[in-house]
């Protein structure tokens, strides 16, 4: 190795120090908020409100989690969020790729016009208010469907998928066609198996979006049974930030309750991040693949 033989200059050492500092700071800043949330979620909420907890629980308890899982509101929120994530992701992946599959055929009559319609829709928008009016007129407002239907066609992933499908050899489809298979059959039994990495990539990003969504729940839904997890967390934080922390802790001492809405929310937050953390290592290669596909196309 050449680098071993050449003596390090002063500036090289400075680079080492700066790089080391950046790496340590980035690592600590990325991890610490997650860590502190876990710590606080295992600490009595009334005690946590007085501050001063940095690295481990001061008054350890499971109360926040017990309170969380015994509260129907939170359970419902988890159920709604899980359903919309599973159903919404399946619908989006299927609809997006099947439209892209049609558009990927150069023999498709009217292809240029279709692509034009698509690109205009991608870059021009009427804004949120007319969109709201359309959702309302369609009767989607205040229903579960408003979570999964309006996002069914993801135009960015349509473009990514078209590029992917175009790279599949035409002979594969032709031979299936000779065997008498129809387009939907070809799509399901030949294209889908080849396109697994693509489908996985789209599924990851779409499902993360569903799992994290709160604004459709906030603006398009009034029924309290249909609230999503992220919405509930948001609402809890906003409500508790209008009341003073000390008031909550004093109320807690009087009534012998150790949790606060905020500490229960922290437990929910930890549980909400957990699935993302759990699948994260497995999906990393798709994540990298996804951003690379995206940057090539985008």
């Amino acid at each position: 190795m050449i680098s071993r033989r050449i003596k390090k200059s002063v500036s090289d050492h400075i680079v080492d120090i700066v790089v080391g500092a950046i790496v340590v700071v980035v690592f600590f800043m990325s991890v610490y908020p997650f860590y502190l949330s876990v710590v606080l979620s295992f600490n009595e909420g009334t005690d946590a409100a007085s501050g001063g907890i940095y690295f481990w629980p001061r008054r350890p308890t499971l109360d926040n989690y017990i309170q969380l899982v015994s509260d129907v509101k939170w359970i419902k929120a988890f159920a709604v969020t899980l359903s919309r994530t599973v159903l919404g992701t399946a619908m989006t992946v299927f609809f997006t790729t099947i439209v892209a599959y049609g558009l990927s055929h150069s023999k498709l009559i009217g292809r240029k016009i279709y692509m034009g319609i698509l690109l205009v829709a991608m870059y021009v928008s009427g804004g949120i208010i007319p969109y709201y009016a359309v959702l309302k007129a369609l009767g989607l407002m205040n229903s579960f469907a408003v979570y999964v239907v309006p996002g069914m066609l993801n135009l960015f992933y349509v473009l990514v998928s078209i590029a992917f499908f175009k790279a599949i050899p035409q002979e594969l489809e032709d031979s299936a066609q000779v065997d008498g298979a129809r387009d939907l059959r070809i799509f399901v039994s030949i294209i889908v198996p080849i396109a697994k990495p693509l489908l996985a990539t789209i599924a990851i990003f779409v499902s993360v979006g569903h799992w994290n969504a709160w604004y459709d729940s906030a603006f398009f839904v009034q029924n309290d049974d249909l609230r999503t997890l992220a919405y509930r967390m948001m609402a809890t934080i906003q409500r508790s930030s209008t009341t003073q922390g000390t008031d909550i802790s004093q109320a807690g001492i009087v009534s012998m309750i150790t949790y606060t809405p905020l500490s229960v929310q922290l437990a929910a937050m930890v549980l909400a991040v957990f699935p993302i953390l759990a699948v994260y290592p497995f999906f990393q290669r798709y994540i990298i693949a996804g951003i690379t596909i995206g940057s090539v196309k985008g």
Partner: protein, 309 residues
């Protein structure tokens, strides 16, 4: 022999069906709302439905005049632009710095670990980022304790107008730097390694290698990402999450700085049911967004001598 159009259409009827379903979807969820922007010029009531968007009484530019003369307009305008520009200013260069730094880390395990944790925040909800702020930046939170220990004064980060912009920029940087660094790191790996060896033989220091090999090597990627970022300027920097962020962190304490066009439109339009007025404000927002993109493109042209579009 060329088959007739009808025969060819029949042969591809399934493909046509797939695509037409997509087009029908776009008609409903994109094109009708696009045409619906006409409500900015009339007096629309929500219960008159889609047809009502086009048949409501025409009022010309009344909604726009009302918006421009509103006492809040100046603040909204300034906040929106200040927020967009300052976020871009930080969220765009910092991922490049992180990628360069990670590239200099020799220990592969350290490099991978730091990279992995740095883009984790990209995958969590803004609500959770808001939750993190709520435990880190409160009056007796970790950050204030640290400030106090260092002899500084405690600040009400979450409810003061003055701290809103720094906090918004900070959280945007926190959430997205690691993610965008991936692109730059991927681009760095495609640089020819023999260039580095040659530079080393010539006695170039590491800093010189960073500035004369690595940075020029990823220049095309930097340009592409800058285009993406500029296109998203009104959305708030790279990933366009400004609305969520401002809406979540804005409160009665900091609203004079936190309220931007996007949040204002949502509140006035949906909470106060002033649909036509909010649609007019939305149109103004789009026009400002387009001009910002144009201006920054012009500036980028002047600075780098390279056309973005």
């Amino acid at each position: 022999m060329k088959k007739s159009l009808v025969v060819r259409l029949l042969n591809q009827r399934w493909l046509q069906l797939f695509v037409l379903l997509g087009m029908a979807y776009l008609l409903i969820f994109s094109y009708i709302p696009m045409a619906g922007i006409v409500i900015a010029f009339n007096k629309y009531k929500l219960n008159s439905g889609i047809v009502g968007m086009f048949t409501s009484p025409f009022v010309g530019f009344d909604n726009f005049i009302e918006f421009f003369t509103d006492y809040q307009f100046g603040d909204l305008f300034m906040n929106t632009i200040l927020m967009s520009v300052s976020k871009l200013f930080f969220t765009f260069p910092l991922p490049i710095v992180l990628a360069l730094a990670l590239n200099e880390v020799k220990n592969r395990k350290v490099k991978r670990t730091v990279q992995t944790v740095s883009y984790l925040p990209y995958f969590i909800s803004w609500v959770i980022v808001y939750g993190f702020c709520n435990i880190m930046f409160t009056k007796n939170g970790v950050v204030n304790d640290l400030l106090a220990a260092l002899g500084g004064a405690r600040a009400a980060f979450l409810s003061e107008p003055g701290t809103f912009l720094p906090l918004a920029v900070f959280t945007a940087v926190w959430k997205e730097t690691g993610w965008w660094a991936i692109i730059f790191l991927a681009s760095i790996t495609s640089i020819d390694l023999s260039l580095y060896d040659a530079a080393e033989v010539d006695g170039a220091s590491r800093l010189q290698r960073i500035f004369y090999i690595t940075l020029p090597g990823i220049r095309p990627t930097i340009t592409v990402v800058l285009i993406l970022a500029l296109g998203n300027l009104m959305g708030g920097g790279l990933s366009g999450s400004k609305f969520q962020q401002e809406y979540l962190c804005g409160n009665s304490g900091n609203l004079e700085r936190a309220e931007i066009l996007q949040t204002y439109i949502m509140k006035v339009g949906l909470s106060k049911a002033r649909y036509s007025y909010a649609a007019a404000a939305g149109l103004v927002q789009s026009v400002i967004g387009l001009s910002l993109v144009g201006i920054s493109n012009f500036a980028a042209n002047k600075l780098t001598g390279e056309g973005l579009f």
